[in-house]
Amino acid sequence: MGKIVIVNGSPRAPKSNSKQYAAIFKEFYQAGASEADAIREYAVIQDEYAAIAQAVKDCSDLLFVYPLYADGIPVVLLDFLKYLEKHVPANKPQVSAIVNCGFFEPEQTKVSLSMLRLFCRQAGLPFSSCLSIGSGEAFLTTPLAFMVKRKIKQLAKALQKGRKREMQVTLPLPKKSFVKASTGFWLTYAEKFGVTKEQMDSMKIEGE
């Protein structure tokens, strides 16, 4: 247990679900922390790569929190990983991840975690633990948010105790119910902008 750096890899970091998941992690990690422990938080789209890499030089754990984008790691995080590989810290912090996937199946994040493991191998950093979140776009807005919070707590504890964990969580719903609920979620989202279901359902691309 020691200092941890949390890196938000979302392209919309200030408004991201990744930020919310990182905040929950921070809360649980702090609860079990000693005075010597410190948590620092960065976002790849907001902070200088050099500043993040500098902080990483002084931590025992590095936690990436990111959404699944086009079946993989978002390009904004990929670019940071390439930078970090060229500035590998001598202290070799262990790397963990919370991956947020908008689809029901947390398994859809597996390839992105394989990419992160490859980064670790190429950069010479140890990979520790991961939590894959399915239904991640809406999970925290449901009455079942406690389920994902519980998993994040388990991840925080594992990192504090130096244990490796691989976990996943999704809403406990039949897939068809998830599809129905997600439709409602997106309709409500678009309603704020005065956009109707018919408009959202358009087959046109670039108006053609």
């Binding site: 390839v111 490859l118 439709t183 997106w186 959202m200």
Partner: protein, 170 residues
């Protein structure tokens, strides 16, 4: 139509009139900002008005595609990845069950035969991760069939020419 997307300039391929060749490295394409505007504000149209808006309609209209990309950590490297992330206006926010999994519905997107020409992979393990990525892409990008061909950057252009020639014959 046929589409060749590359992350570096390719030499003249002598392609037919139904084939578009796009050098992504010559375009101005910002990364996706995750605003969901293309789903909930201006459906089918990205709110960032850069060159991506010229490319994702071509992806949607194509029956056959060749994507040429460097591989990094088993992912498409930044140039191709940036473009593919910016192609989400061709999908809808709505989710459906597709081959037993949840995936976004598509707008007017044709099923496509895809050939992915990948260079720069450092190990068999990295190639395996990239193959898995393309397997996932097949679900979300409507690949009815796909091939992944690993090569070097120097040999990639020759491979593109060979694969594109097969289109002309069929």
């Amino acid at each position: 139509m046929n589409l060749i997307l590359s992350d570096f300039p390719l030499p003249e391929l002598g392609q037919g009139p139904d084939t578009a060749v796009v050098d992504l490295s010559a375009l101005n394409i910002h990364h996706c900002i995750g605003c969901f505007g293309c789903w909930v504000k201006t459906p089918g149209k990205c709110v960032i008005r850069d060159d991506a808006g010229k490319v994702y309609p071509l992806i949607a209209q194509s029956d056959r595609v060749i994507y040429v990309s460097r591989v990094k950590y088993g992912s498409y490297d930044s140039i191709m990845k940036t473009m593919l992330e910016r192609a989400i206006p061709i999908q809808k926010a709505f989710i459906q069950l597709y081959r037993g999994e949840t995936h976004h519905m598509q707008r007017a997107v044709k099923d496509k035969e895809a050939v992915i020409i990948a260079y720069g992979a450092q190990s068999p393990e990295e190639q395996a991760v990239f193959r898995k990525l393309i397997e996932r892409n097949a679900y979300n990008m409507r690949f009815s069939s796909y091939q992944v061909l690993f090569t070097t950057k120097q040999q990639a252009a020759g491979l593109v020419k060979k694969e594109a020639a097969k289109w002309e014959k069929s």
